[in-house]
Amino acid sequence: MGGKTAAKVGQSGLDKKTLLNFLHQMLLIRKFEDKAGELYARGKIAGFLHLYNGEEAVAVGAISALEPHDLVITHYRDHGHAIARGLDAKRLMAELFGKATGVAKGHGGSMHFFDASLGFYGGWAIVGGHLPLAVGLGLASNTLRKNQVILCIFGDGGTNIGYFYESLNVAKLWNVPVVFLCENNLYGMGTALHRASAIREVYRKAAVFDIPAERVDGMDVLAMREATVKAVAHARGGGGPYFLEAMTYRFRGHSMADPILYRDKSEVEEWKQRDPIILFQQRLREEGVLTPQDLEQMERETDELVADAVKFAEESPEPPLSDLHEDIYANP
């Protein structure tokens, strides 16, 4: 367990506005997810819904280290990454509702968020399948001299499939600017990491390709940022791929269909003691960065953003039936 933890907030070199924005984003993700879960239970959202509760610090910390022209490509538990990258909560909720105003026009749903204009390249739902795409995006960045870094996010469950090893090997061979970020929440769906992976320290799987790899405390937003800043600088500087393993935990089930029979309540409670939002709030308060008024205002703002998102989704039209035949080919 563990992984590298950040020093005091005050030593992070970040200004108050940035620090509070981290908390704001994490709160927005948590509230968005809670609301989505509630709306799923009420039948407003269908399909698979994989909530990000508990892992907020990973998305917010890591994505904060990117430049606007960098790219994020991620797995199907993608709501937190999309929000951290600045995608509009309204259009995300509309996508969950299957509405025409959704980020993917209602074609993709929860697992396939995408916004090319913000460098958010999906939302992919075949485990491990987007790792080769990250290599290709890195190749394009190098070939077209875009100076882009590609942040490729996946779970611990995605590190046992052939794609993982093929992609790390080629990423190193081709020296592509990809930061591989494994969100190790200890379970691939309901199968514990130790039942699925011969190596429990996931970062060691990357190290065999001579890719610099380290473990980070994924419940600590500043640690995530610090590690990702370093990884991004390495990739952007021509050093090739970098690998981060974020130790984190999902507070809810794998998806809404999950009765969570595979983990002890005590384990869940233990991890909830390390809730990344509560921990960060405490640290900010202790160091005088966050006042009760700040927090109150932030709670109100994020509640409103989620309420607005739901209202927008509710009021948006369904896609027209003519849309069934759209977007299959660019050159039909």
Partner: protein, 326 residues
């Protein structure tokens, strides 16, 4: 007159010269020059930043092509053979074919995956398959199967310029076949069939190497006073039904010829479309000639028995005509 191999090579060379975003990577494309020699010399002329080898790892080759296309390049990935495309099927079907649609039309993936298909070289069952119907089944993909040097060149150039993912399937026995290729810029549109021989008595619908088999059969039949029209589909998706229907409306009989297995095959699809659209024009049931439904054996005589040839085509044509008279 140049070979199919040379025609494909010229297409790659011309498109790489025309557009700097075109690059080639895949199995053995540099020093080896491609398993069938198509990319020979390109790395030397364009540099190894634009032509480079990948490990034998089809998943990451196809997936990197998808990512590279999303990143603004126009990759041509070489998978050596269509049999190995099964290892990349997830990337081709679950990724390349879905990007445009699943994300609401925000982005397409202009990529070409080149692979060799077909049997007849005694490579046994895992290296001799005609798997194009599996891929042609999938909306979002384009599947191209050229039969001649001219079509090989023109279709490959069009595939590289196309904004959608194209699976470009060459045939193992065609690389040395020679043919005329028009001078200068030569493009063949995707999704357009071609009448390769005109005739009034029956329509033979074929693609890839079976087009040449159909043409050979048609020449032999002509000596017996039977004039067969040969339609080469060229692209399997999009599928040009109109050219097939126009021919059938003229000849009133149709026989499909494919190397792939019969069940759920291209011939089945063509036959179905003909009867849906031109049932009243038919004077006889539509027949299919296909590869025998077995894994391809190594032994020469057994393999030959499994792959359609001109004799089988002629026999079927004569049986069909005997039903109704010419």
């Amino acid at each position: 007159m140049i070979t199919y191999r040379e025609a494909l090579h010229h297409a790659l060379r011309e498109e790489m010269t025309r557009d700097e975003r075109v690059l080639i990577f895949g199995e053995d494309v540099v020093a080896y020059g491609g398993a069938y020699g198509v990319t020979s010399g390109l790395a030397k002329d364009f540099g190894e930043k634009r032509v480079f080898d990948a490990p034998i790892a089809e998943g990451v080759i196809a997936g990197a092509a998808v990512g590279a296309a999303m990143g603004g390049l126009r990759p041509v990935a070489e998978l050596m053979t269509i049999n190995f495309a099964l290892l990349a099927a997830d990337q081709i079907i679950n990724h390349a074919a879905k990007v445009m649609h699943m994300f609401g039309g925000q982005m397409s993936v202009p990529l070409v995956i080149r692979a060799v298909g077909g049997g007849g070289a005694q490579l046994a069952s895992t290296h001799s398959q005609s798997l194009e119907p599996m891929f042609a089944h999938v909306p979002g993909l384009k599947v191209v199967t050229p039969a001649t040097p001219a079509d090989g060149k023109g279709l490959l150039k069009s595939a590289i310029r196309d904004d959608d993912p194209v699976l470009f399937i060459e045939h193992a026995l065609l690389y040395r076949v020679r043919g005329e290729v028009p001078e200068g810029e030569h493009l063949v549109p995707l999704g357009k069939a071609a009448v390769k021989r005109e005739g009034k008595d029956i329509t033979l619908v074929a693609y890839s190497r079976m087009t040449l088999v159909a043409l050979q059969a048609a020449d032999l039949l002509s000596q017996e006073g039977i004039e067969a029209e040969v339609v080469d589909l060229r692209s399997l998706r999009p599928l040009d039904t109109e050219t097939v229907l126009a021919s059938v409306r003229k000849t009133h009989r149709a026989l499909t010829v494919e190397e792939a297995w019969r069940t759920y095959g291209i011939g089945a699809e063509i036959a179905s479309r003909i009867q849906e659209e031109a049932f009243d024009d038919l004077d006889a049931p539509i027949r299919r000639i296909s590869g025998v439904e077995v894994p391809l054996p190594y032994a020469k005589n057994l393999e030959q028995a499994a792959i359609p040839d001109a004799q089988r085509v002629m026999k079927a044509v004569k049986e069909l005509l005997a039903r109704t008279g010419v």
